[in-house]
């Protein structure tokens, strides 16, 4: 098999204009419309395409940046209101998924490489048999936000008996939140600031800068990003969350709040705090919202729903996700598999789900497979499910696919491919279209256009072609879709649930690998978990008290037993974890894939198929074993030790003015004639989601080093998010601080390089000349911020196609033995300066956006010209909250940090 993609074929993959269509042997794949209107592709200039990153029933609008016809970077679509112009972390990282060497390159029949004719011919008889016999075909897919796909499946269901199960293994019921006008937010085991939905982070951050701050409460058993950022955190076992919500409901209707005291005392919470929370909610009716986490029980969901109804948030600040985006529960999947095991299906097609890995009951799965004569897997890799299916249909990546999606607020968004299929793959919808009976159907692209022509386009606004082009350009249709009705909440008194013995275990999808589908993505495996800073694996978070009681230490493997289902996983002793509560991430312990195999522990087997809230397990027992695993953590020490590094002040004590510090220096002042680039980071807005880290990695060709090297401390991320714990016990919180090269005016690294490989530019950048560096590493020793990274091994040169196709051609790749670090995205600065020069104007404020600033959902990072008196970075740098880290070292950093503002309840609130 030809591993490389020949140049000719590569040119043929650019689906831009008809002129190129003649160069390739495939039929016209249609016109994709770039975001910047330009005739054809200009070599050297990027083209951006508006598209959608669809994941688990949620549609994230994105812009795909392509160079010479291939996608190299994913960022947010600023035209789309739902995303606030930001793309989620996994969307940015999944560019690597397009170029994954493990991807299927053609369909497989019984494990042998085949072609589409043969592969589809092997499935058609089963479909025909279904039509004749009436025994349905089982179609198991992930949740989807695409109305056209749903229509297609409905049509298929009319063509043959079809049983469609829509299942997301790691997601509970999803919410839709509008936090922009929320002054008080109460999260019940809900990590709204994890960055998975960038608009939530954006809306929250807007209300934290100044003026009247919003207030965030987090009621949780673990210590999530939301809990880290919360103004008040109540440590409560998840099984008690329903009772807590009902107690607040009662307090809202009964101002004396007597019931609250009892609840507080029962659960070890501060009475003052609970009363304060209730009073706060009462004061802010109409501008307060409660959020229920996906792991909690139906009872808790109803209680929170009731609370929202009383707060007047229902339908305005919060709504349930549309029905189609929801996935069925495990119970329905279990029923389907039981039916399969009894031979009730003529065929099974698994598309976008991996039940061999994520279905908890492995025995039932085996029986189910045995009962189905023909099994097909539509997917990107040979994963656990594909191994057990006779037919494996190689699927297009989302960057190669067409589609339409309903975004959160009801906008219809179009997904267009940014590149033709790299291999002999088909879009899932196209595969289904070829399985219809009767005359051959058109391809999905035409099906989509036809559908829009009929249902979406109205003749009033010009020709369909111009309408279609406009939609592809913008990425959205500026038209409201049907609003979803607010779910009716039934007031019901909560049954006091017995506090179970043993631990409570909360399982959530990993922030990086999600439900496990991204296990093969090295960037995502290496992104440090925002809470624990763990990479390449998952660990069980245990409270300090429990660890002390059981004699556990970091990395020690324990056996977790939940109702007879057991796995072994290492622990991480976590400050902030509530005693009696355990937390862990799903999506690890894959069995296939060169990168994913064997990383972490698979926790899906712990789930209870018959439970309505499978991600919350009660009555869990822990048994320590003798084995100890070396966890790959990027940060081991989380206290500032009295050093002034990341400032966090209550808003009442926020500084009103700022005195410049006079640090003596023996260096002459430098002159920056034209520009002086600087950056400001608002710690109030940063939530620690680490999207900046992935965006930087994608933009700057930063290599992935693997778990062994991370254990040794050699990860290569140019920007990292440091996490510092503040306070103790119930008053514990954490501040996240993005740390990157500070581009110091009197940089300690510049003086000590013996070969002058690092020096200062006349625009204020600390430059790194890779080809001059001999690698003495003195500069890294002398950097007080330790932001320099050394290529300890040859990380890049041995890479081949297709992996190297993900590289950004504007950024040099660095060989072994060379030092590298953040450049303030100098390639972007240069690009903008050149464009401005050709247009005969100066650089406008906000025109240069380094990758980290562009990716931050909170927009906490601002970059610009400090010499421009009206630039945002200038006003942020002069903010009274502003300060520089380690200013006393005298390096004169160009990055100003703005102290985090917290908004605790006024008056004495004694934490429990």
């Amino acid at each position: 098999m030809d591993n490389k993609i020949s140049r000719r074929r590569f040119l043929g993959l650019m689906g831009a204009t008809a002129a190129f269509a003649g160069a390739c042997s495939r039929p016209n794949r249609g016109k994709i419309v770039p975001y910047t209107r330009r005739p054809g592709t200009v070599p050297g200039a990027p083209d951006k395409f508006a598209s959608v990153f669809p994941e688990a029933g949620r549609a994230h609008p994105v812009l795909v940046v392509t160079r010479e016809g291939r996608p190299i970077h994913v960022e947010g679509n600023d035209l789309h209101p739902d995303s606030r112009g930001k793309a989620p972390l996994r969307a940015i990282a999944d560019i690597l998924g397009l170029y994954d060497p493990d991807r299927l390159r053609q369909p497989l029949v019984d494990g042998r490489r085949s072609d589409w004719g043969q592969a589809l011919a092997a499935l058609r008889p089963a479909f025909d048999a279904a039509r004749k016999s009436g025994k349905p075909v089982l179609l198991m897919t992930g949740a989807t936000s695409s109305p056209t796909r749903r229509a297609l499946i409905a049509e298929l269901g009319a063509d043959l008996p079809l049983s469609w199960v829509c299942w997301e293994p790691a997601c509970g019921p999803q919410e839709r939140l509008s936090l922009e006008h929320a002054k008080v937010v109460v999260c019940f085991e809900a990590d709204i600031l994890s960055g998975e939905v960038p608009s939530w982070v954006a809306d929250f951050a807007k209300n934290r800068r100044g003026g009247t701050l919003s207030r965030l409460y987090s009621i949780e058993g673990g210590f999530s990003l939301t809990g880290s950022k919360a103004d008040h955190r109540l440590r409560l076992k998840p099984s008690r969350a329903a009772a807590a919500a009902m107690a607040l409901v009662r307090a809202l209707s009964d101002p004396t709040g007597a019931g609250l005291d009892g609840f507080a005392k029962e659960n070890g919470l501060s009475v003052d705090l609970l009363r304060g929370l209730a009073a706060d909610l009462a004061r802010h009716r109409g501008a307060a919202v409660a959020v229920c986490g996906p792991a909690l029980s139906a009872e808790a969901r109803e209680a929170v729903s009731l609370l929202n109804a009383m707060l007047g948030a229902q339908g305005r600040l919060t709504a349930r996700s549309p029905e189609h985006a929801a996935s069925t529960g495990l119970g329905t999947v279990k029923e389907a598999l039981e039916d399969a095991s009894q031979g009730k299906f003529s065929a099974a097609v698994f598309w976008g789900v991996n039940p061999a890995y994520s279905f908890p009951d492995a025995a039932l799965w085996k029986r189910a497979l045995a009962g189905v004569p023909v099994k097909a897997r539509i997917g990107l890799h040979v994963d656990e499910t594909a191994l057990e299916c006779g037919l494996v249909f190689a699927e297009n990546h989302w960057l190669e696919s067409w589609g339409d999606h309903e975004s959160d607020s009801g906008f219809l968004t179009l997904q267009q491919p940014a590149i033709g299929p790299l291999y002999d793959t088909l879009q899932g919808e196209d595969i289904l279209l070829r399985l219809f009976s009767g005359a051959p159907r058109p391809e999905y692209r035409l099906y989509l256009e036809e559908g829009w022509r009929k249902k979406v386009y109205s003749t009033g606004g010009g020709s369909f072609e111009s309408f279609w082009t406009a939609c592809l350009h913008d990425g959205l249709l500026r038209r409201e879709a049907r609003p979803t009705a607010a779910p009716k909440s039934r007031p019901r008194s909560a049954k006091p649930s017995a506090t179970p013995d043993g631990f409570e275990l909360v399982l959530s999808p990993g922030l990086a690998v999600f439900d496990g589908r991204y296990g093969g993505n090295g960037w995502l495996q290496e992104i440090p978990d925002p809470l624990t800073k763990q990479t390449w694996g998952n660990a069980l978070r245990v409270s300090i008290a429990d660890a002390g009681r059981l004699g556990l230490r970091d990395g020690q493997v324990v056996k977790v037993d939940a109702g007879g289902r057991a796995v072994e996983i290492p622990v991480l002793v976590s400050e902030g974890q509530t005693p009696g509560v355990l937390c862990a991430g799903l999506g690890y312990g894959r069995r296939t894939g060169n990168v994913a195999r064997g990383v972490g522990t698979n926790l899906y087997p712990l789930l209870d198929c018959d439970s309505t809230s499978p991600f919350l397990l009660c009555g869990v027992s822990l048994t320590p074993t003798a084995a100890v695993v070396d966890l790959a953590l990027t940060q081991g020490h989380h206290r500032m030790e009295g050093r002034d590094i990341a400032r966090s002040v209550p808003v009442a004590e926020a500084p009103r003015s700022r005195e410049p510090r006079n640090i003596p220096t023996m260096y002459p002042a430098q002159d920056f004639p034209l520009h002086k680039w600087g950056m400001a980071v608002d710690l109030s807005m940063c939530v620690g989601c680490s999207a900046c880290v992935v965006a930087c990695q994608s933009e700057n060709n930063i290599p992935c080093v693997g778990p062994e090297q991370v254990r040794r401390g050699r990860e290569m991320h140019w920007i990292r998010v440091d996490r510092y714990l503040l306070g103790e016990g119930a008053a514990l919180r954490a501040v996240s601080q993005p740390m990157l090269c500070q581009h110091c005016d009197d940089a300690p690294c510049e003086t000590v390089c013996p070969v002058n490989a690092t020096n200062h530019s006349p625009e204020g950048l600390n430059q790194m000349a890779y080809n001059r560096c001999v690698g003495t590493r003195y500069c890294a020793n002398n950097c007080p911020y330790k932001v320099r990274r050394f290529n300890f091994f040859e990380y890049t040169a041995d890479k081949e196609e297709p992996e190297i196709l993900a590289h950004n051609p504007e950024v040099t790749v660095r060989p072994r033995g060379v030092m590298e670090k953040c450049t303030f995205c100098v390639q972007r600065i240069q690009d903008v300066k050149q464009i401005a020069k050709t247009q005969g104007r100066g650089v406008r404020d906000g025109e240069v956006m380094p990758a980290c600033a562009a990716a931050c959902p909170a927009s906490a990072i601002v970059f610009g010209d400090l010499k421009d008196p009206v630039s945002r970075v200038n006003s942020w740098s002069d903010d009274p909250r502003g300060y520089r880290v380690l200013e006393e070292v005298g390096a004169k950093p160009a990055v100003t940090y703005l102290a985090e503002l917290t908004n605790p309840l006024e008056g004495e609130v004694r934490h429990g």
């Binding site: 940060q635 081991g636 020490h637 989380h638 206290r639 500032m640 030790e641 009295g642 050093r643 590094i645 090297q709 040794r712 401390g713 050699r714 990860e715 990292r720 440091d722 996490r723 510092y724 740390m739 300690p748 003086t751 000590v752 390089c753 013996p754 070969v755 002058n756 001059r772 560096c773 001999v774 690698g775 003495t776 590493r777 003195y778 890294a780 020793n781 002398n782 007080p784 911020y785 330790k786 320099r788 990274r789 050394f790 290529n791 300890f792 091994f793 040859e794 060989p815 072994r816 033995g817 060379v818 030092m819 880290v885 380690l886 070292v889 390096a891």
Partner: protein, 462 residues
């Protein structure tokens, strides 16, 4: 005559033991290359060569795969590589002190040990020079540290202490080499005259650069020797001061201390004397030179070791005092880590080996006993190596931002290279012993009793 009236302490010390004639001296020292080395020598050389081979293999592996083969990480970007470099450069200082500084001070007891000490300096600097070469990420470009004319019109960065190192260590090596070689010329000439084997004769003829022993030659020799001794004297103090600037000029807490130059120089002399003393014990026993390298010499060296040990103790105290007095939280923390941090055991090793154990030398009986001498010398060598470990690794391991604090773990390759450097050093020492004159016979002849010109009477008796 008159000397019988002098009290014991003021008499000339016994620089040699027993009666030795000029001829005997020559035979004893200069005949060594003509004889076949004993089996012991071959065994020892085989061992040191094997160890060197291990080291060279580890170096080759590092050059092939990258610095990642070592334990270095972020933030500990320098570890064994620079520890070993500083360690070996330090060891070289004893030789130069003995041969140059003591020469200028006219301390005649140095005469019999100066040659070997100076040789050890050369070999130590060779071992040291390996490390800056191999520790860079791209060693094939290490020549960029030298200011040579190039078409890119690039100078190196003269503000960098690493570049000062380049000049200092190179100067040290060249001057020491010249000094050592110059001193050997008359002895090599004697060996040339005595040599019977034609290949040896050819080699020594070339090396002796036409020495005839004429009065004119001796005049040139004495002047040049004096000049080089003067140059080398300055180097004893400057080279390790410059090496200490690698640390003192940086911003790392625990490195940025003005005490470093004198502290390092003292430490270098301390470690060097211990190593020289250990080697001389072996030399005087195996090569039967007990009457030339006497117990007096060893005792004097032990006194120097004791003295520098006390100075090191003072330096550690001053470091602690300065850390406290600075009221700088970063330096406070660094110093507390030295003794009570993750590698606190290394800090205590340093104190015990460098300050406590050498105090044994207050006892004159222990100063003259082999077991205690070897014990103290080994302790000092280990202690001084760990002192560099404490300074380099422990300061880097926990510096300004706690988020970057991380432990350091050396790899087998690190140990292999460290061991290999010892192997290379001792291989060279063994080779030197068999090939070149180990004692400066001309200088010793100047102090042999009974052979100095005297005004009336033979009163030069030790």
């Amino acid at each position: 005559m008159a000397e019988a009236l002098l009290p014991e302490g003021l008499r000339e010390p016994a620089l040699t033991d027993g009666a030795i004639t000029l001829g005997e001296l020559d035979d004893r020292v200069l005949s060594v290359p003509e004889t076949r080395p004993p089996a012991k020598w071959f065994a020892a050389f085989a061992l040191t060569s094997a160890i060197s081979a291990v080291g060279l293999a580890c170096i080759a592996y590092t050059l092939y795969t990258g610095i990642g083969a070592w334990g270095n990480n972020s933030p500990v970007f320098w570890a064994f590589d620079i520890i070993n470099f500083v360690f070996w450069v330090g060891i070289g200082h004893a030789g130069t002190l003995i041969s140059a500084i003591l020469f200028l001070f006219r301390k005649r007891w140095r005469n019999s040990i100066a040659r070997y000490a100076e040789a050890m300096t050369i070999f130590a600097v060779i071992c040291a020079a390996i490390f800056p070469l191999i520790h860079v990420g791209r060693p094939w470009l290490a020549f960029w540290l030298f200011p040579y004319p190039n078409q890119r019109a690039l100078w190196p960065n003269f503000r960098s202490p690493l570049l000062w190192d380049v000049f200092a260590v190179n100067t040290y090596f060249i001057v020491s080499l010249l000094f050592w070689f110059l001193g050997m010329v008359p002895d090599i000439a004697s060996m040339r005259d005595r040599a019977k084997d034609p290949r040896l004769k050819f080699a020594y003829t070339a090396l002796s650069v036409g020495w005839r022993g004429s009065a004119e030659h001796w005049q040139h020799y004495e002047k040049a020797y004096l000049l080089l001794a003067g140059l080398a004297t300055g180097l004893v103090l400057s080279v390790h001061s410059v090496v200490s600037f690698d640390f003192a000029v940086s911003v790392v807490p625990g490195w940025h201390m003005t005490i470093f130059p004198p502290y390092f120089v003292t430490g270098a002399i301390f470690a060097g004397f211990a190593m020289v003393m250990m080697v001389l014990i072996v030399v005087r026993e195996t090569m039967d030179l007990k009457h030339l390298i006497t117990m007096y010499h060893l005792e004097v060296m032990n006194k120097v070791i004791l003295g520098t040990s006390c100075l090191m103790g003072y330096a550690y105290m001053m470091e602690g005092f300065t850390a406290w007095y600075s009221q700088n939280q970063f330096i406070h923390h660094a110093f507390k880590q030295y003794l009570w941090g993750a590698y606190g055991w290394a800090g205590w090793t340093v104190l015990v080996c460098n300050v406590l154990i050498p105090q044994l030398f207050w006892s004159s009986r222990l100063r003259r006993s082999y077991p205690s001498m070897i014990f103290v010398a080994a302790a000092v060598t280990i202690g001084m190596w760990f002192e560099r470990f404490v300074i380099i690794v422990m300061s880097l391991q926990q510096d300004y931002l706690p988020s970057s604090w991380r432990l350091y773990q050396p790899t087998l390759i690190d140990f292999g290279i460290l061991l290999g450097s010892f192997g290379i050093f001792f291989s060279l020492v063994l080779l030197f012993a068999r090939v070149l004159p180990v004692i400066a016979t001309t200088e010793v002849k100047a102090i042999l009793p009974g052979y100095q010109p005297a005004h009336g009477g033979d009163h030069d008796r030790a």
